[in-house]
Amino acid sequence: MGVRLKARLGRHRCRPKIMLKYLLPLGLFAALLILLGIGLTLNPREVPSPLIGQPAPNFTLQRLDDPSQTVSEEIFRGKVSLLNVWASWCLACRQEHPQLMELRKRGEVLLVGLNYKDDRGSALELLERAGNPYQVIAFDGDGKAGIDYGVYGVPETFVIDKQGVIRYKHIGPITPEDWEQKLAPLVRYLEKQP
C-alpha cells in the first residue's frame, strides 16, 4: 500500500512530462483533423491541367453551323478568349448557359465553343431553343480535339491570352461567383497585357 502511494507521488513530481504525454497525442489528433479538413474542402475532380502556360493545342475542325468552313487555334490570336467545351447531352452545361449568355451580352471576351462528342442536329437545336452565346463553335464529333485539350468532363472552360497561351482551366459549370471571383479578374488582367 505504502509503496503504491509513494510511486504515485513520485510520478506526480514530474508534471511537465505527464502534460506532454496527454498533450502530444491531442496535438497530433488536432493536426490530423486539420489535415483531413483541408482534404475535405479540395475537389478531387479538379485535376490540375499540364496545359496551363502552354500554347493552345492545334486543331482544325469544322464549324458547327457550317461544315464547309473550318476553325483552328489561330482564332485565339490577338484577343483574350474563352474556349468553352460543351455538349447538348451535358446537363451541367445547361446550368452554365445563362452565365455564358450574360458574358456574350457584355462582350468582354471572345467566346469560342467546342462542341464535344455531340450530334450536330441536337446541338444546333439546343442553341436555337436556348440561344447561342458563342461567336464561333468548332465541332469535335469524335472528341479527338477534346483529348488534345485534356478534356475529361464537360463543361470545361479555358482562358486563353492574346498570344494564344492557355492561362487557366475551369472545370465544371461557371457560376456567377466563379466569373466574378476567378475568371473576370484574370480576363481583365490579360486584357491589359500586350
Binding site: 478531387p44 491541367s49 499540364p50 483529348i147 468532363g153
Partner: protein
C-alpha cells in the same frame, strides 16, 4: 435448379458484350496494350484504370492507345502523350518530383516515426532496475 445453367449463359453473354474486340498482329503488342491500360488511370472514374472503366473517355483513350501501338509508338511515347494532356494524374505510378515527394516518401517517414515511437516505448517499459526510493520501505 434447371434454370441455373441458362442464367449462367445469359450472364456470360452480357459480360462478353461489354468487352471490346481488338485485333493485334503480334501477341507482344497485345501484352503491351493490356499492360498500358492497366497502368493508366481513367479521369472520369478516378479509382479505375483505363482497362476497368466503362466511361466514354476511357473507351476513347483505349482506342487512342491501341492506334498508337499499331502505329509503332513506344510505351514511353504513349505515356508521354497522355501525361502531356492530362498530367501525372493519369499515371498510377507518378514520377518522383518535388510535388509528389510526400506521396512517395510519406509512408516511409510515417513508418520511421512509428518505429522510433515503438522503440522508445519498449525501452521505457523494459524491466528497469528497481528504484531505491520506491523499494526501500
Amino acid at each position: 435448379m434447371r434454370w441455373l445453367p441458362i442464367l449462367a449463359l445469359v450472364l456470360t453473354g452480357l459480360a462478353l458484350a461489354g468487352v471490346e474486340v481488338r485485333q493485334f498482329p503480334d501477341p507482344k503488342l497485345e501484352t503491351r496494350y493490356h499492360h498500358l491500360i492497366e497502368e493508366l488511370r481513367c479521369l472520369v472514374c478516378q479509382n479505375q484504370s483505363l482497362a476497368d472503366s466503362n466511361a466514354d473517355l476511357a473507351e476513347d483513350l483505349r482506342s487512342e492507345v491501341y492506334t498508337m501501338l499499331l502505329a509503332g509508338k513506344s510505351d514511353q511515347e504513349i505515356v508521354d502523350f497522355l501525361v502531356s494532356r492530362y498530367g501525372d494524374f493519369v499515371l498510377y505510378r507518378p514520377p518522383l518530383k518535388t510535388t509528389t515527394a510526400l506521396l512517395w516518401l510519406g509512408p516511409f517517414i510515417a513508418m520511421a516515426l512509428g518505429a522510433l515511437t515503438l522503440w522508445r516505448l519498449i525501452r521505457r517499459r523494459s524491466p528497469n532496475p528497481p528504484r531505491p526510493d520506491i523499494n526501500d520501505s
